[in-house]
Amino acid sequence: MSGTETVSLKIDDRTVQAPEGTNVLKAAELAGISIPHFCYHPAFEAEGNCRMCLVEVEGLPKLDLACSTVVKEGMTVRTSTPRILQARKDVLEFLLAEHPLDCPICDKAGECKLQEYYDRYGLFAGRFVEAKEKRDKKVAIGKGLLLDRERCILCTRCVRFLRKVTGTDELGVFERGVRAEIGTYDGVPVDNNYSGNLVDICPVGAITAADFRFKTRAWFLKKGPTVCPRCGRGCAVVVESVSGYPLGEKQRRVFRIRARENPAVNGWWICDLGRAGRREIDENRQVRITRKSAPGEQVSWEAAIEEIAGRILGIPQAQRAARIAVVLNSLLTCEELALAEKVFAKGLGLPGVYFADPTPGEADGFLLTGERVPNARGVLEAGFSPRLPNLDALAASVEVLLVFGSHLLEHFSEEAISRALAGIPSKFLFSAYAGPLDRLAEVVFPIALPAEKSGTYINVDGLRQTFGRSVEPPLGVVSEREILGCLANGLGLNRGEPDAC
């Protein structure tokens, strides 16, 4: 099918150009007209069961589905005639007849299509006075997902997702008529790395995540777009958090990570590993600078950076290469890596900078890559050859050690690290998380997470993606960019450049 030809048609008196083969729903979107729909999803072929997207095509006696009608040259479509508005009311009235009045307790409230369309196209009094079908309201279907069969409108997006996208087919439709219901097969729950997308594509609150259940309301969530840092794919995500009300004034919590559409990288989906990253943004965070020599004492940034600069500068230039070591990681942005190269390679003349990264895992054949870092390509572009340090070598000659991140523990035992570090006079740790290495360092600095910083990652296909801060870091926590900038200053490497501190 050649998509190169363009078709011209009229939608609600607007002339629209659309590629050959586009359906009317998509073509209308191009013209800024949104046609309501439940069962249609751009990832799948048209299904046509919800009947919500009916429109008038001039010359045809019946209303037609916008999702499955392909644009034709010279077609005239209307999307808001009285007949169509009545048809939408009809669909809504049918759906609401058997739909439970759960809005006050339903997690989907505020982002529910049924609510949205009722507000816009419904606004009628209910006429259903019969007994509604009673169904199971909390069916655990696997991976922390809950199915509420009373809310389900049988759009079958979930069934089709598992059939066409993951190919794992865990959901089906049983029985028929009004008794039709969605479910899994005995002992075969939903179990794939993309299950979280089911919550996102469910237009109502039928499939929800136990992880999000009853925790907050959609309208409190602040949405910050960013790029997922948990593997090399760099999926477009949105981090959804609440700062302050209705939490406590100084509290911040990340409630959800969801997919953002990016045709070039992840399409419409993200994997469950990416979603699980939400806990990491909140839990077990390092929030204060601590000094081993003065535990409990408040340490200022300036003082802390001064200490590092002092130790480094205390080593004669000629010996710095041998006596100073730095361990970075591949979660640093391109900008941070460039800075690191300037400070450590050029500035201090260190021949090698070590890298300690999360250990690779299995690629899942779809989005999740084997490498579990977001910027391995960025590391190479910055001129580094990433390798792990040799702990014994470090212990033998190094006097000043800077460790960014806590991934050394994934490669060496705590005991081995402890032993090696014992032989090094000055150790500075920069970590987002509290951990067993903290007690080994002279100074521990809290670090912002990727979601809390801005910068550029280069993904596994070489695509550069620049992102902004999606959520505020805890108070007083900064990113590697700020730290390296201040360190550069402190080492006198920023002569002529704006003060990074």
Binding site: D169, E170, L171, G172, V173, F174, E175, R176, T184, Y185, D186, V188
Partner: protein, 160 residues
């Protein structure tokens, strides 16, 4: 305990599969063959069929639960299915159903206390000029008057 059809049914099934350009298309006739032998299609049989046809068990259950002639649990040894669509209703189907229910002492699921006969109501059987009609194990009877119904039940109960 896993399911295995008899040799005869197995042969039937192989024959059926060969008739369709795609294995999975043979699902309905295969389920019929299994139900003919076992009286129903058990979860174990579902799994067996799924493997035999190269589809997932969930697809088998989707089909089983859609069509009313398939059973997932055994019914009585004999099933009586009475039509209660329009022509039969016009000719006294409701009365016939009530009469049969009473005579058989059928429980809420339609089965007699001794489990031998299951009485069900169904939609149009395509035998409208012999209304009110019913099927006993798929064999048509009609018009079924009260007397005829009583006689049929007697016959059934006489046979062991």
């Amino acid at each position: 305990m896993s399911y295995v059809p008899s040799t005869a049914t197995m042969q039937k099934i192989e024959g059926m599969i060969a008739l369709y350009p795609e294995r999975s298309a043979a699902l309905l006739p295969v389920l019929r063959a299994i139900q003919e032998e076992s009286g129903c299609v058990s979860p174990e049989a579902e799994v067996w069929v799924a493997e035999k046809l190269g589809i997932r068990p969930i697809r088998v259950r989707e089909v089983l639960s859609f069509y009313t002639m398939f059973r997932r649990k055994p019914a009585g040894k004999t099933t009586i299915q009475v039509c209660r669509n329009l022509s039969c209703t016009l000719d006294g189907a409701e009365d016939l159903i009530g009469f049969l229910r009473e005579k058989l002492h059928a429980g809420p699921d339609g089965t007699t206390p001794d489990g031998r006969i299951t009485l069900e109501t169904v939609e149009c059987l395509g035998n409208c000029d012999h209304a009110p009609c019913l099927q006993i194990d798929g064999v048509d009877h009609g018009p079924v008057t009260r007397d005829r119904a009583a006689a049929l039940i007697e016959e059934l109960e006489a046979h062991e």
